[in-house]
Amino acid sequence: MNKKILLIGGRSKAKALATSLLQSGYEVTAINASTQDCQKLAEISGLKVLVGDGTKPYILEDANAGSFAMAIALTSQDQDNLVCCQLCKKLFHVQKTVALVSDPAKRDFFHKMGIDSVVCAIATVADVIKQHALVDDIANVLPLGSGQVQITELRIPAASPAVGKKLLEINLPKDIIVGCIMRDNITMIPRGDTVILANDKVVIISTQEQQVPAIKELTGRC
């Protein structure tokens, strides 16, 4: 399996990501336009570093971009990330392209233009804050499918209206799956007649819109 990853731009982002990917066993090459940043990156053992503008076709050619399974564009400029990923895809047929995007309004546009994965740091942070502002007892919210599917783990407080009720008696929004219930170190896959007890940790799978109503029904908090 091709485990080569190409990182373009970024400074501390490239450093952090490269280190993490190398540890996981990937072969990583980093392209950076600044000689200074490249020197810092070159200190990471195992990392191949190339000085140059990753949005120029000949630089990508020098880096042998066609041999990589994935290209990740980390510059601070959305347009540079866009062009870099498009060149990698169109000219070098890199299978997966990932771009950092600073403007949340442009995420859909990037997907439309053929970028496989789009990461918007600001939107992610905003989501995390929103989740945590909701209920303190929510832990480990895992967004999937570009944030449209959420896996949420919640603790059922003693005061919750759901305590003592069977799952099918609770007025949960439709299309919610209660994946599992963890009680006293035992994990069980619930059925409709499973009764919820106080301090149960419940893992639910839901869409983004139904997450809040589901949390309300299960914990009694808004």
Partner: protein, 156 residues
């Protein structure tokens, strides 16, 4: 672009980037009585426009979707992306095509290598170094024996 309650104009051009090229293009459109809006991050650049310029100017970042909406890009027939940054122009052109569905999008790209990538994507690209090299070719080679003009770039 609504002018005093009339129907939307059907010859509305937007130019992004008021450098020498942008200013010249906008002034030309205006001189031919076309409707034109020119946008630039720096309002001082509008001084490059001809004194008789009768179009609109907008200070703003062409990559900002809100600024493009303010300029009514969705009503424009032509978008000219002529900022000094190739990548900005490419992204601008693609936004104009995919998000605002502008009919004709023309982009100035300095890098001839990039031009080949974007040449067939519904966007018309102009590469100054290629054009210049063709013109210089014509001057260098005497007329009767002139071979087919090649697109090899001569370093300018």
């Amino acid at each position: 672009m609504r002018l005093f309650g009339q129907k939307p104009a059907n010859d509305y051009t937007i130019v992004i980037g008021c450098g020498r090229l942008g200013a010249t293009l906008a002034s030309e459109v205006s001189d031919k009585n076309g409707n034109v809006l020119i946008m630039d991050k720096d309002s001082a650049s509008f001084r490059k426009l001809s004194p008789s310029f009768g179009g609109l100017t907008q200070e703003g970042n062409g990559l900002d979707l809100a600024a493009l909406t303010d300029a009514h890009l969705e009503n424009a027939q032509v978008l000219l992306a002529v900022t000094d940054n190739d990548n900005t122009n490419i992204m601008l052109a693609q936004i104009a095509k995919e998000v605002f569905h502008v009919n004709k999008v023309i982009v100035r790209l300095y890098d001839p290598e990039r031009q080949t990538v974007y040449a067939n994507s519904g966007i018309e690209t102009i590469c100054p170094s290629l054009l210049s090299s063709r013109e210089i070719d014509k001057i260098l080679v005497p007329l009767p024996q002139r071979p087919m003009a090649s697109a090899t770039s001569v370093a300018i």
